[in-house]
């Protein structure tokens, strides 16, 4: 086979893997949007916050250490212990649930019945708040996250493809794990929403708030639940992205990348988030590979948005979204 084609195949595979990671973030968006009609811009920052908290707990950092030192003139930084990864993940999950409760209690409850665009802007405010809070709590330096996931070249695939084509494909172990995790997550969430009591209640709320209230479903409880699940998805995404590229501010920008994914897939569809993620992942990698060198490179910054923009003009509800019907 010609080299160029092999390279293209490798790029496509890597694009698929990157797409899975985008889809992971997009999943969190879809969950909240389906249950409460809120477009949660803060999802990416939640992933950053979760990753920061995880690293902070694992390293035994004192929360708000810099702030305490600045106010009281002390010199404390760590508790001096290391927490095992599994325990730290559980603790971080608890923090994310607490966060979900706070968001519901202090923000969203006061904004019921507002227009979607107001809610959207409120989540932008939330994103700023969380970003500042995360930095205040744990410091803003770039951190390394290592929860024991394997990284680097997958030797089996390399050998196998070398045997077939005479050219070994480079596939990162971490990407394979991310794919598996994403698949498990999607299946888990689907089972949860189809067969559990809470899942049914969640779908009822998504369908009609008023009717759900009238059959005795607590909206407060459901929304805390939804934000907690979104926090959990953010934690998973934070672990994956944090392991891949370090825990730093740019992590929160993947939220922006998830937006075109959602527009392609439709805001209300979980499979849509996955398919949209894959299309964007493959599309931007292939575009960068084929067209990028001709126009100066770094096209990954905008390709996804422009693709989504063109797509929207022809199909405003996305690939799998529900048809938008408007009445006066």
């Amino acid at each position: 086979m010609p080299d160029q084609l092999l390279y293209a195949m490798e790029v496509t595979l890597n694009g698929l893997m990157a797409g899975v990671l985008y889809a992971l973030v997009a999943l969190g968006f879809v969950l909240i949007f389906k249950a409460s009609g809120i477009f949660n811009y803060a999802q990416g920052v939640m992933a950053l916050f979760a990753a920061l908290t995880l690293v902070g707990i694992m390293e035994g950092q004192v929360p708000f250490a810099n702030l305490i030192n600045a106010i009281f003139g002390t010199e404390i930084h760590t508790f001096g212990w290391q927490v095992p990864a599994v325990l730290a993940i559980v603790l971080t999950l608890l923090v994310m649930i607490l966060l979900a409760w706070c968001v519901q209690k202090f923000v969203m409850r006061h904004l019921v019945n507002q227009e979607p665009i107001i809610l959207f802007m409120a989540t932008i405010g939330l994103a700023y708040f969380l970003e500042g809070l995360g930095d205040l709590m744990w410091g803003s330096d770039i951190k390394k996250l290592d929860v024991g996931l394997p990284q680097g070249l997958n030797a089996t695939i390399d050998d196998l493809t070398y045997g077939w084509f005479g050219y070994g494909f480079f596939i990162d172990n971490l990407d394979i794990i991310a794919t598996v995790v994403a698949a498990v997550l999607v299946i888990g969430l689907t089972v949860f929403s189809q067969y559990s009591k809470q899942g049914r209640a969640l779908r009822a709320v998504a369908d009609d708030h008023q009717a759900a209230l009238s059959v005795g479903i607590s909206l407060n409880y459901i929304w805390v639940l939804v934000w907690s699940i979104a926090g959990f998805v953010a934690l998973v995404a934070g672990i994956m992205w944090g392991t891949k590229s370090g825990v730093q501010f740019s992590l929160s920008l993947i939220a922006l990348k998830a937006l075109p994914v959602l527009m392609l897939g439709g805001f209300t569809s979980i499979p849509g988030a996955i398919v949209g993620g894959l299309i964007i992942g493959v599309g931007e990698k292939l575009f960068e590979f084929l067209i990028g060198p001709m126009v100066g490179g770094a096209t990954e910054n905008w390709f996804a948005y422009v693709l989504a923009l063109l797509f929207l003009v022809f199909r405003p509800q996305g690939l799998f979204g529900e048809k938008i019907i408007e009445r006066v």
Partner: protein, 358 residues
């Protein structure tokens, strides 16, 4: 007591429809103008001009622009930074290509070029709305910044990839370049702000402004009563981008002098201007001033108290500022969705009666 309209009679429709129908308001407005033009330029120094006045004035123009699009026409845009970059690069290309033409004309032309780009990126608004449109404007933001970064023609093939403003004068006084005096920067910004605010105010209360507001309140209903959504939405994009472009041009040429596009006109700038109009008040010209003043002054105040007063590290203060800004946005949306402008209106109502109960 302090603020009354007794004895203020309007005898014609023209009087009734003026921007400041109450005499006290009118005189206050003249007084503010007199102070801004006649007093401040004589006392301003470099610190005050660069830290407070010039950014405040320039951001005000951007906020007015975004307010026309988002506050009056209801189309949320996250591409403000990208459009400001268009204004900056347009004025840079014009300044270097036609050195003999006055900078004032260049700035206005840059606004016109930005308006054309804005209309182009506003086209999807005919099909999509709400945050779908917001994401579409993100495409403008990222694409434009990438374009100015990657195509050397835009920065005249300079080695650093930066653009820097050459010295230009207005009536013999340097307003751009390294030798500009503080008061000259302040004056040219002030002149543009006053002109833009006057233009925006008169556009928004005329036919075109009413069309925008009809589209904002409900686009389908607006279409039924005879507002053409195509012209209304696209004209909102054009006018809004015109102001944003002027603001970007001044931001580059007068305020910063040299610009690296990703740093000066990144996504953060889009959010900053959006926050200004949320805090200031959507759909209000005064709100644009109030919001810009608030978000320009807040970091300066926080920095002075936290870093200067308590001796905190700069980055700690910056994080604290993020928390405060985020918290403020949320509390404004919850408690006063119409922003500082509404607080001002309520205060005026109260002052009319004070100290009497009725």
């Amino acid at each position: 007591m302090f603020y009354r309209e007794a004895g203020d009679f309007n005898t014609s429709y023209k009087q009734d429809n003026q921007t400041f129908p109450i005499k006290f308001d009118r005189w206050r407005y003249y007084a503010v103008l007199a102070v801004a033009f006649g007093v401040v330029p004589f006392f301003i120094n470099d610190y005050w001009a660069n830290a407070v006045f010039v950014p405040f004035l320039i951001y005000t123009i951007a906020a007015i622009g975004l307010n026309i699009l988002t506050g009056y026409c209801g189309q949320l845009s996250l591409g403000t930074g990208g459009f400001m970059a268009v204004g900056a690069y347009a004025v840079y290309k014009l300044m270097t290509a036609f050195p003999d033409v006055s900078i004032v004309i260049h700035v206005i032309l840059a606004g016109g070029i930005t308006a054309a780009v804005g209309v182009l990126f506003g086209l999807p608004s005919l099909r999509i709305k709400g945050f779908y449109l917001a994401v579409a404007t993100l495409a403008a933001q990222f694409f434009l910044v990438w374009l100015f970064n990657r195509v050397p023609w835009f920065y005249n093939y300079s080695a650093s990839g930066q653009i820097s403003a050459p010295e230009r004068t207005v009536v013999g006084v340097a307003v751009t370049g390294a030798n500009t005096e503080a008061w000259a920067k302040y004056m040219i910004s002030l002149v543009f702000v006053v002109a833009c605010a006057w233009l925006a105010r008169n556009l928004t209360r005329g036919t075109i402004g009413r069309k925008w507001m009809a589209i904002r309140d409900m686009d389908i209903a607006a279409e039924i009563i005879g507002v053409n959504p195509l012209t209304a939405k696209l004209s909102a994009f054009a006018v809004s981008s015109f102001f944003v472009g002027i603001s970007g041009a001044l931001f580059f040429s007068v305020y910063l002098g040299a610009v690296e596009v990703g740093e000066a006109f990144g996504i953060q700038k889009s959010f900053l201007v959006l926050f200004m109009i949320i805090i200031g008040g959507l759909g209000s010209i005064f709100g644009s001033f109030a919001g810009a003043a608030f978000l320009v002054l807040l970091p300066v105040l926080l920095k002075n108290t936290l870093v200067g007063g308590f001796g905190w590290a700069t980055d700690l203060a910056a994080h604290f500022e993020l928390v405060i800004v985020g918290g403020l946005i949320i509390s404004f949306l919850i408690m006063e969705p119409h922003g500082l402008a509404q607080l001002w209106r309520v205060a005026k109502e109260k002052l009319r009666l004070w100290p009497f109960p009725h």
